[in-house]
Subunit: 260 residues, 2 copies
């Protein structure tokens, strides 16, 4: 038994962007004409034309621009607004697909019971959510040490219970997300003493927001990976941190949760 689902954007209760229409729009973008696009999808010219017409009528701004006659007899192009909508749909669809995959993995479809605790669709308050690939898993008696390789090349080691690893079904090579609160990130300037904490990642400060007591420091660790640390305003002074400074971010491995 398998799960399947469609995703459609509605406008005033009318279906507006659905799977088939998206396909059509992409084909129009590629071929520059409704008739060619209809052939490519494939669908009848009539339905293609009606779909395009319906979309243009429902939308505030036109999605496609149609020209009849002219150089090559005319043609149809997608407006920038239309392209933006396509991108929106793509993003939503991707997230939706991910959700369905996860949902069917997590559900025992015969009984309807969730194999996992907790909800699936959740936003989490933690500012630091960094994706990586599972490099190794060392299982102890109760805990497991999971090493995550980030796309920036850095490694993050997380210690979670063995049971959690099983619950998530984590294997080497899987992609997973390291999750930790910004208040668990400590900052040090290079050249200081060694710490017992396993995770120390070098980067440069890209932004600092100073409050009365605490300061929020954004550390760029390369390849668009970013860490956020909240430290006391005092420490900020003591360490003499400024935007552009090189720092080492330190996170205790037991402070890192994993998600997938």
């Amino acid at each position: 038994m398998e799960l399947s689902s469609t995703l459609t954007l509605e406008m005033l209760g009318e279906p507006f962007l659905l799977e088939k229409r998206i396909e059509l729009l992409y084909a129009i973008e590629e071929h520059g004409s409704i008739s060619k696009a209809a052939k490519a999808v494939p669908m009848s010219y009539k339905s293609a034309w009606e779909a395009v017409d319906a979309m243009n009528n429902l939308s505030e701004q036109p999605i496609v621009q149609r020209e009849t006659g002219g150089k090559n007899g005319g043609g149809t192009t997608i407006t920038p607004y239309g392209l933006k909508l396509l991108e929106t749909y793509r993003v939503l669809k991707e997230e939706h697909t991910r959700f369905l995959e996860r949902l069917s993995q997590v559900t025992d479809i015969e009984s309807g019971a969730f194999k996992t605790i907790g909800r699936l669709a959740m936003q989490i308050s933690a500012r630091n959510q960094i994706q990586g690939k599972v490099e190794s898993i060392e299982s102890g008696a109760v805990n497991a040490k999971v090493s995550l390789k980030l796309k920036s090349g850095n490694r993050l080691v997380s210690v979670i219970t063995k049971e959690a690893v099983e619950n998530l079904g984590l294997k080497e090579g899987d992609s997973a997300t390291a999750i930790f609160k910004s208040s668990t990130v400590m900052l040090a300037v290079p050249g200081e003493m060694q710490l017992s904490a396993r995770n120390s990642i070098r980067g440069s400060i890209s932004h600092i927001t100073v409050g009365e007591v605490n300061a929020e420091v954004v550390v760029d660790i390369g390849h668009h990976d970013v860490l956020v640390a909240v430290i006391t305003a005092d420490s900020l002074k003591t360490l003499n941190l400024k935007e552009g400074s090189n720092v080492t971010a330190i996170i205790k491995s037991s402070d890192i949760m994993l998600g997938r």
Copy 2:
């Protein structure tokens, strides 16, 4: 612009359980006959019958039992297996609906950009995920103190950054989930000294799993809410904890993340 989506279970590539059919099945359960159910939904008798037939043919075990002729002219009842499937669908549907709500909340539909960091569909390694209602939010300069009232009546206070509160769009009265690692839960026996930690919840131990170094203790705090703590096997002995013992679970408010 609105998001909408259907959820259908497929069997061998064929649509098997879809929205309409689920409705029909519930109506059959209520009325005990296909014809009455068809009227109630409403749909034509033919499509109702065909739907039932298709489902029975696709399924390994029959979903409905049909009797023609007899006492009241016959009738149709749903088998226990069918009822289980209905329950499965209900659970999946609920999760799916939640996801869509969250997705449309979180997406700026004009630009397709996510207003939030991180994925939406994620399982998290943390064993402790407890739902509650936001009772109060006290915003400081950088951090915010969010008080969550659990259905067991207990309160959990979480300290997260003000920005995270805004990101989640948390307001008083919202339901939210407290998330924390089992290793951040400390246990104490009643009558000990006061601690600075804001969160202390009384409960009784419902299960203990002892490892070589660590032990996992499951604490029932009432109303089906459960906490999991991982403590050292030594502490277990020192505190003389057994199944059934009354304990106080202590969690630092800064160790609690929030999700919604």
